[in-house]
């Protein structure tokens, strides 16, 4: 388990979520979709301040997400 912080712009503070880095993005996007009531496929995101373009079949680790990383939903 690692911690991932998820921040929705304009709605602080970020959530501290325990996640499995081996989970596929397809599963994880349901979680944030539910939490923030959004369609994760359409959301614009950054990892810290770098552009983040996830693919459903890749794991969080493969997408470069690390312990205490910060995922920002910016649009």
């Amino acid at each position: 388990m690692i911690f991932l912080y998820v921040y929705e712009q304009g709605n602080p503070p970020a959530l501290c979520l325990p996640v499995n880095p081996e989970d596929k993005w397809a599963e994880f996007k349901q979680v944030i979709g539910g939490l923030y009531k959004l369609n994760a496929d359409e959301a614009k995101m950054t990892y810290f301040d770098e552009p983040f373009t996830p693919q459903d079949d890749r794991t969080l680790a493969e997408l470069g997400i690390k312990h205490k990383g910060l995922l920002k939903i910016v649009g």
Binding site: M1, F3, Y5, Y7, Q9, G10, P12, P13, A14, L15, C16, L17, P18, L35, F48, K66, H67, K68, G69, L70
Partner: protein
């Protein structure tokens, strides 16, 4: 022949100078093991004098008198059912927060000043620190006893020890004092005697005191009254300690400057809770955080105190400009998040009423209209999910939820981070990041509640309220609470 009574000065000298001797069977460094590692150079330990020249005899006499008065007032408050004189029981939501913060804070200050008294070899400072240590213990004991009265009638006061040690939000103040207690003795002094007492306690006792009085809170007023005269001694110790360090050797200036930078920011961040109380919780408001900050921090501390220290090569504390920028922000940022976490709090929260909003607009003008009123509108929309859906991200240094905005952009949440030994650490501000970067080995060990809870170190999730020492009814919205309903009922019965 009758002995001639000794004068105060002679008494004081006997107590301090003559009880301070050169060790003969252990080296000085062994007797004072922490005196050198911080790098502070003192050449003449003896020349410093406490302007109050407090001796055991007059300390005990004065304090005993204060205690007599205090307990007479306390018994009277109890007997007269003074809680029904409050403007509104909503004020007690501030006192619950105060109990969680101050009881533990004062007790830890007691421990800190024992440590300072033991390890700083300046006789005047040692005795002043010793009396302060006893004062702090007196404060916490009196506060606990006095607030016990509120505990008979209101929620959220029943488990202050558990709350102040374990509640996720109380880690802010716990970590603050533990940071000072685990520093060297000179930094401990600079931290609490100067950074906290000299710079910030006026807001705590004067501003909060007048707000408590305006809301007919005789308990807090009585506490403020009996504590305040001790505080003036504590402030004098803070000033003496800083002057001693700065005047003894010019090499001390950069070390002291770093501590002033750090403890100004740490104290300032800790006081966010007070900003919330002044601007939101108080039913009858006296002074806004912005006004209090301008009066006490900008005028008295930044433009007064720090000006006086310029001759020693001391400049204003790092990031003070950001604190100034934030003066019309932090109470609102705190209130917005506290409103969302009332289901896991030991106090009730609420959205500002129409009357509150008129006052907030008057005090905060454009920022209120353009930013905060809109946020409240959004947050009180019936479709908005009020309860925060998990654990908030916390700053590694101050441990507040990460709600503070970028200094240059009020709409953008500030994020700072550092990498240390392969791990990422997050901060709410430049001030908190700088503090971490200077001593990463200390702050990497911080006990961050969100992480500890998720790691299972606070027991099972379903038992968290019990772990924190709160009942489900302690939290929630004030205007739906039993406290509110009872208070309305009791007031009517009394009328």
């Amino acid at each position: 022949m009758a002995k001639k009574k000794r004068g105060l000065k002679e008494e004081y000298n006997l107590l301090t100078r003559d009880l301070d001797w050169e060790p003969s069977y252990v080296p000085f460094e062994e007797m004072y093991p922490y005196v050198s590692f911080e790098g502070i150079k003192i050449h003449n330990w003896d020349r410093w004098e406490d302007p109050f020249r407090v001796t055991v005899e007059n300390y005990v006499r004065i304090q005993a008198e204060k205690e007599r008065k205090f307990h007479a007032i306390r018994e009277n408050i109890d007997m007269m059912q003074s809680q029904l004189d409050l403007t509104d029981a909503r004020w007690l939501e501030a006192m619950k927060l105060f109990a969680g913060v101050a009881f533990n804070g004062e007790y830890n200050a007691h421990r800190l000043f024992q440590y300072v008294s033991r390890h700083v070899p300046i006789p005047a400072i040692r005795f002043a620190a010793f009396t302060q240590s006893v004062d702090e213990l007196r404060h916490v004991q009196n506060e606990v006893l006095l607030f016990n009265n509120y505990n008979k009638y209101f929620q959220g006061f029943h488990s202050w020890k558990k709350v102040s040690h374990r509640h996720w939000l109380m880690s802010v103040i716990k970590s603050f004092f533990e940071d000072a207690m685990t520093a060297g003795p000179f930094e401990g002094l600079a931290a609490i005697a100067f950074g906290f007492e000299v710079a910030f306690t006026n807001i705590l006792f004067v501003t909060m005191g007048s707000t408590a009085m305006a809301n007919n809170d005789l308990c807090y007023t009585a506490v403020g009254f009996t504590n305040q005269s001790d505080e003036s001694r504590h402030m004098t110790l803070g000033m003496m300690a800083i002057r001693a360090m700065l005047e003894e050797d010019p090499d001390n200036a950069p070390i002291v400057q770093k501590w002033l930078d750090k403890w100004f920011w740490r104290s300032y961040r800790a006081f966010t809770a007070i900003a919330y109380i002044l601007d939101y919780v108080a039913p009858k408001k006296v002074v806004s955080w912005k006004e209090a900050f301008e009066m006490y921090i900008e005028d008295q501390v930044l433009n007064g105190l720090f000006k006086d220290l310029e001759m020693f090569g001391i400049r204003k504390p790092l990031y003070y400009e950001q604190a100034i920028i934030e003066k019309d922000r932090i109470s609102h940022q705190a209130a917005l998040i506290l409103h969302r976490v009332s289901h896991v709090a030991f106090f009730h929260t609420f959205a500002p009423t129409a009357e509150d909003q008129v006052w907030l607009e008057e005090k905060y003008g454009d920022t209120w209209r353009d930013v905060w009123a809109k946020k409240w509108e959004q947050q009180t929309d019936p479709n908005y999910e009020r309860n925060y859906p998990g654990l908030p991200m916390l700053c590694q240094t101050c441990q507040y939820p990460m709600v503070f905005a970028e200094p240059e952009d009020i709409h953008k949440t500030a994020y700072r981070h550092s990498e240390y030994e392969g791990e990422t650490y997050h901060f709410c501000s430049d001030g908190c990041k700088t503090i971490f970067d200077d001593e990463p080995d200390k702050y990497k060990e911080a006990w961050i509640p969100a992480h500890e809870i998720l790691s299972g170190n606070c027991g099972p999730a379903e038992d968290l309220l019990n772990y924190w020492g709160i009942d489900p009814e302690d939290g929630g919205d004030y205007y739906e609470s039993t406290d509110y309903k009872n208070f309305e009922k009791w007031k009517k019965m009394r009328a």
